[in-house]
């Protein structure tokens, strides 16, 4: 919550969050909001431009573009969420565990991650579909596995820095268990960093979903998806630009918003785990002396 609050204070974040809120709404309610059945074909209005009953026109089969867009949002977004969710779970838990479960596990996890990082996303997803059958779920899970190294590395790096802090050492000296240290000292500090990565990974997943559906993989036609619409209607670009262009624009805007959000999260400093005294100091009655030049001695480096 504190992370969100701090990010909101960043001007850049506001339009990004607004866009994403709209997309989220559409994903959930889009199908119900659609004025027409996305699959209903109207042979009388093929490739027609925007009109009263069809706000964004119709495609080459007479289907209402707006309805297809609204309905397709859900599928595309859900796919991206699925992949990201899988990546989160497979990445974060081993990422933290690699620091606390001993050398052997650490080595094995690092090597597995190295291997995964060498594989390209889209190709792997296509191969997974070929093996596991044509379904968006399978493809997304495979994508999630491939994206997990990002979370692994980010979580591990953040926790590695934190693990060496004096306050973690102090907790160990109290006899605190590993789970206590993780829960109380590490977890909440790792989260903001993870949030940044999550936003980026969502964007990547979204683009990958769009690519896959563009290629006709993963989703059976005639179910509408952004990528699918882009693919099927691209040929009719000259006659009815709305049908292919809009889905493409939506993908761009959503991915862009996600990246902006990631930037804002990072810049807001909420994810700055290495800065000592993370909370912005707000001195009131008994603070450190005010003068701009801090004179309190900083010879912590005088250790034996």
């Amino acid at each position: 919550m504190r992370t969100l609050r701090r990010t909101w204070q960043f001007r850049i974040a506001r339009p990004a969050l607004a866009v994403l809120a709209v997309v989220a709404l559409l994903a959930v309610f889009g199908g119900r909001l659609a004025p027409h059945d996305p699959l209903a074909q109207d042979p009388n209005h093929i490739l027609s431009g925007p009109s009263g009953s069809h706000l964004l026109g119709t495609d080459y089969l007479g289907r209402d573009v707006l309805s297809r867009l609204l309905a397709g949002t859900g599928l595309s977004v859900v796919g991206a969420l699925e992949a990201t969710g899988v990546a989160l779970v497979i990445g974060i838990i081993p990422g933290l565990a690699s620091l606390w479960l001993g050398r052997v596990f650490e080595w094995a996890a690092l090597r597995a991650v190295d291997a995964l990082m060498t594989l390209p996303f889209t190709l792997f997803a296509i191969a997974a579909i070929g093996v596991l059958g044509n379904g968006l779920n399978q493809a997304m899970i495979a994508l999630g596995v491939l994206l997990s190294p990002l979370f692994f590395r980010v979580t591990r790096a953040a926790a590695l820095g934190l693990r060496q802090s004096p306050y973690v050492e102090a907790a160990e000296l109290m006899g605190a268990s590993r789970s206590w240290v993780l829960r109380v000292h590490i977890w909440s500090k790792v989260l903001p960093t993870v949030a940044v990565t999550t936003a980026q990974v969502l964007a990547t997943s979204l683009l990958t979903v769009a690519s896959l559906t563009f290629l006709g993989l993963g989703v059976q036609p005639p179910a509408p998806t952004w990528g699918g619409m882009l693919a099927t209607d691209l040929g009719y670009l000259a006659q009815q630009p709305w049908a292919p262009v809009l889905p493409g624009v939506l993908v761009m805007i959503t991915a862009g918003a996600l990246h902006l959000l990631a930037d804002a999260l990072r810049d807001s400093g909420a994810a700055d785990v290495l800065r000592p005294g993370g909370a912005a100091p707000a001195p009131d009655e008994d603070p450190t002396p005010v003068p701009t030049v801090r004179e309190e001695k900083a010879d912590a480096h005088l250790a034996a």
Partner: protein, 345 residues
């Protein structure tokens, strides 16, 4: 006293190397006054110590003399003169002409003032070549001479060392060598020995004293540690809450202080008599910059304060032949210092 006392320059005879008059410094973009009406001077061959706690304004004063005030801080009134050159309002090129030539400085953490990827010798030789136009061989030789002058053993070998290979004391000596390379008139040492081990600190302080007497260097030493200033400085200027509260010859001021704050500092500082266990504290806290009371700024922590002390601003007045004090009651109070007739609490 092993640090040899130079013949005291007669203040009336020569103009001071550094003269600070009525200096006012504001912080926070001009909103708050952190240093008020500070005046002191340093003559050639003399060492002056600026002493005070955090927030006393000593660091800001020191930085203003070096032209290195942090952003948002500015000199709002008063002036400072160095060897005849007016420092206030000097532009960047003016400062560049002064630094290294008339003015040298050493600071607290020597390692952070050196480039870790160059040898220390090279870092000293470089300004010699640039500023003084020496050839590479001459600069090398002069650098080795300077290292020897600051007491580094095997200076030729030290020349080729990288900063990480040298101890804190050696690094600080190297930096002192850099600071005096241009034969400046004034050397400013801002908490220069604070981060050093005790034994090394004593060595570096001895070095500063020696340089002062050998080269007629004017030395401005800024420290929170009264004992350090007591060991090295001829004159002491005590700062509190942005004002000078007392100044004068060190021995006299410490033997018989003329301001309660100085008396309190003495009790808190390193005692020197190891068999006594005494941990004096000064109750309370200095006022925030800009929130100082109208009257004497030390009154709320002072054991000798009276109502008159809080009524209006107190001026700095003479309290002896070469001394000043910002205490209304200086003449009537007998404050305890290091002189033997004191009765210790």
């Amino acid at each position: 006293m092993p640090t040899s006392q130079p013949e005291r320059p007669d203040p009336a005879a020569a103009a001071p190397v550094l003269a600070v008059e009525g200096l006012h410094i504001t912080v926070g973009g001009g909103r708050v006054e952190a240093v008020r009406d500070v005046s002191f001077s340093v003559h050639a061959g003399e060492s002056v110590g600026l002493v005070g706690e955090s927030g006393s304004g000593k660091t800001l004063t020191c930085r203003s003399v070096l032209g290195a005030l942090p952003p948002g801080c500015a000199v709002s009134a008063g002036r400072a003169t160095l060897s005849g050159t007016e420092l206030t309002g000097l532009d960047r090129r003016g400062w560049e002409r002064l630094r290294g030539v008339s003015l040298g400085a050493v600071f607290q953490d020597p390692a952070s003032y050196l480039n870790p990827s160059l040898t220390v010798g090279r870092q000293l030789a470089e300004p010699l070549r640039v500023r003084q136009g020496l050839s590479r061989a001459d600069a090398h030789r002069r650098a080795v001479e300077l290292f020897a002058a600051v007491g580094l053993h095997q200076p030729e070998q030290v020349y080729h060392r990288y900063p990480y290979e040298l101890s804190g004391g050696m690094l600080q000596r190297a930096l002192i060598a850099t600071a005096i390379a241009g034969d400046p008139d004034l050397l400013v040492a801002d908490e220069a020995t604070t981060a050093l081990d005790t034994v090394v600190q004593a060595e570096v302080l001895d070095l500063l004293g020696r340089l002062r007497s050998e080269r007629g260097l004017a030395l401005l030493l800024v420290s929170h540690d009264l004992a350090v200033v007591a060991e090295v400085c001829d004159r002491i200027v005590v700062l509190y809450a942005g004002e000078v509260v007392e100044d004068g010859p060190t021995e006299q001021v410490l033997a018989a202080p003329a301001h309660p704050y100085t008396e309190a500092l003495l009790r808190v500082a390193s005692i020197g008599d190891w068999s006594r266990r005494e941990l004096a504290v000064i109750p309370g806290r200095p006022p925030e910059a800009g929130q100082a009371p109208r009257g004497c700024r030390f009154a709320d922590r002072c054991a000798h304060a009276t109502k008159a002390c809080t009524e209006g601003p107190v001026e700095l007045r003479p309290s002896g032949p070469d001394r000043r004090s910002r205490c209304l009651r200086a003449a009537e109070l007998t404050l305890s210092g290091t002189a033997p007739q004191e009765v210790n609490a």
